[in-house]
Amino acid sequence: MNEKQHEYEDLPGTWVFDAQRARKGYPLNNFFMSLMKEENRKAFLADETSYLSQFKMSDAQRDAVLKRQWNTMLELGGVVYCLAKLAFTDQHSYQYMAAEMTGMSEQEYVDMMLAGGRSPDGWRSKSETKESAQGDEV
């Protein structure tokens, strides 16, 4: 059974956390939530692969966590607020994580925000958006 393409899937550079994505992301998000406890943060950092084996996530999800591929984590069902708990575990800020997702340095991102942020022009639909702006290209 296939669901019809939703209109919000045409938003560029965005993965809307909808019911289907939430279903797939459940174990991934449970992992992020576990990082709200200090002892779990320590255990994760001490041996990431072994810590992750407690969670029934897919290989692709596990790989994205290990490689800190933030956009892939979003695509595979991670919620951005939960991803932030991984960024905090790594001693990074929310702003650092957002910059990583855009492919900018943190300073470039801060400068863009101080200059008024990213204009919606060119970012309203996938057909409008420059390919150069897509992330996790590494």
Binding site: P12, N71, V79, M113
Partner: protein, 282 residues
């Protein structure tokens, strides 16, 4: 009789809380934003509300993924501050008003809103940063708070129209509480922001200005804005603005705009703020 006398719209971000807690409010980056709330702090001190109904969203701190309530009303005596991953904010515990909260739940459910009753809940920056912006840094918060947590994390959040109608039901519930109380309602979150993906950092000042204008000029237009329009025009997380519509509708048909302020950026967010007085003589 209890009355909703005024509404406050106010953005929330973790970075605002961190700036307060780390004593950074006077830095070049933060000063312009915090100055915008100085007049509001004076105003609310004089207006002296007894109770604040805080319409906000949790960011996967109180609620994990086992259950995702659309509208959750905090009915506890008090609400501890959540550790969001970097330690709990050093702000006072939030005192509830369980008697009035229970009344609101009962009235709301009979009004056909399927409210979730929450008897134990921690509160995160979604609730505490508007408190800091409006009440500063007291030893104890000068108001009791009834938190109403709205799901805006998993799509779809409730529609703008649903939120608007909930606001009307809250007005009715408060006005049927037989105690002289000065009640205010806060709608938090927004305005423009996207904090995920390659499109992060999106800001649409014009969208935000029109939204602020129409809170008093044409709220009926706002209630019909579709989720997709918020996301497309003002960023994926701008959909949080539906929570401002609960606040707006709880004030009745006409409002007087007392104050507004707008500033970009606080981290990735367009900070919007408005104070609206309810017209209780209508």
């Amino acid at each position: 009789m209890a009355k909703i006398t005024a509404g406050v719209g106010c953005s929330h971000t973790p970075a605002i809380g961190a700036a307060v807690d780390l004593g950074k409010t006077e830095t070049d980056y933060w000063r312009p934003m915090f100055e915008g709330f100085e007049a509001s702090k004076k105003w609310i001190k004089e207006a002296a509300p007894d109770v604040v109904i805080m319409v906000y969203n949790d960011h996967n701190n109180a609620f994990d993924f086992k259950m995702i309530p659309t509208f959750a009303v905090g009915c506890a005596d008090e609400f501890p501050i959540a550790d969001e991953g970097w330690g709990a904010r050093p702000v006072p515990i939030v005192k509830g008003y369980p008697e009035l909260a229970a009344h609101i739940v009962q009235s709301g459910i009979l009004d056909e809103f399927d409210l979730t009753i929450v008897n134990e809940m921690e509160v995160d920056h979604g609730l505490t940063t508007p408190m800091s912006l409006m009440f500063g840094e007291p030893d104890a918060w000068p108001v009791r708070v009834i938190p109403i947590a709205v799901n805006v994390v998993q799509y779809p959040p409730p529609t703008g129209n649903r939120c608007y109608n909930l606001g009307k039901a809250l007005k009715k519930a408060v006005e049927s509480w037989d105690e002289d109380l000065n009640v205010m309602i806060f709608g938090t979150g927004g305005m423009s922001h996207q904090i995920q993906g390659p499109r992060a950092g999106l800001i649409n000042k014009e969208f935000d200005k029109n939204f602020l204008d129409d809170l008093s000029r044409d709220p009926e237009r706002l209630k019909d804005i579709a989720h997709l329009e918020y996301m497309r025009e003002a960023g994926a997380e701008a959909v949080e603005l539906v929570m401002w519509l609960v606040m707006r509708a709880a004030l009745g048909e006409k409002v007087d705009e007392v104050y507004r302020f707008y500033h970009v950026p606080a981290s990735s967010t367009g900070v919007g703020h408005i104070i609206l007085n309810a017209d209780n003589n209508e």
